[in-house]
């Protein structure tokens, strides 16, 4: 159920939209965003460089809240959409890329082990984000105690 009104009137594609070809990037798009997204209280800024989208969460709890608000099985649909449009989406937490999905993502053994395929998991980014989160928490506590 959506609140507010919408004037969106452009969702009627021509008849040939179901004619799929072997080329996964058969509708390459360029996207420019200046967007704020909030899911269940988890806030993210959505930015882009044309072919690459960045969803930037300010903290790990924000990212977790947003992940819990994602529809079931939505990752597969999003991956297909991004592949068709030749776009890549990076999930960043505290300026570290922790995951990627879409045309430029390469999910591997780690993704399969964590059962997050089609997301590519960036272990270095995850560790960096956790470290930054801990540092921020320590700094907050230190300020509180000073």
């Amino acid at each position: 159920m959506r609140n507010g009104k919408s004037t969106e009137r452009s969702g009627s594609p021509p008849a040939n939209v179901s004619n799929r070809t072997a080329d996964p990037a058969r509708a390459p798009l360029s996207v420019a965003t200046d967007l704020t997204l909030e899911i269940n209280g988890g806030t993210a800024d959505v930015e882009s460089t044309g072919q690459r989208l960045f969803v930037r969460f300010r903290s790990i709890p924000d990212a977790i809240r947003a992940a819990r608000g994602r529809p079931d099985r939505s990752a597969i649909e999003v991956a297909e959409l991004l592949a068709v449009t030749d776009l890549t989406l990076e999930v960043r937490i505290r300026d570290r890329t922790v995951a990627a999905i879409g045309a430029g993502a390469r999910p591997g053994a780690v993704s399969r082990f964590l059962d997050v395929d089609p997301f590519e998991v960036r272990i270095g980014g995850v560790l960096g984000a956790v470290g930054a989160e801990v540092s921020a928490a320590v700094e907050t506590v230190s300020r509180f105690l000073d």
Binding site: S6, P13, V31, E38, I39, D72
Partner: protein
């Protein structure tokens, strides 16, 4: 709380038409919607702009009667243009 859509063709803002002959098949998947959008925009120097003003959407976790709903709020602008197929 609303979403506006504009279609710019060669620098001019156009009102979107809903002529019957353009409404042939509704897309059933996100990739089909993207291909439709591509076919609509490509070759016309066109750009489609979505403007969201604190739009709130209750997103269901799935289908069925007892699904949970997440509250999404979107604010800002998305501009979409096409690129040449490589």
């Amino acid at each position: 709380m609303l979403c506006d859509t504009f279609l710019l063709v060669e620098g001019e803002q156009m009102a979107e038409s809903d002529e019957p002959d353009e409404r042939i098949d509704e897309p059933t998947t996100w990739p089909d919607l993207a291909v439709g959008l591509y076919d609509r925009l490509t070759g016309r120097g066109a750009e489609i702009i979505y403007e969201f003003e604190d739009m709130e959407v209750q997103v269901p976790s799935g289908t069925g009667e007892d699904v949970e709903h997440a509250e999404w709020q979107i604010d800002g602008t998305v501009r979409i243009t096409t690129r040449e197929r490589e």
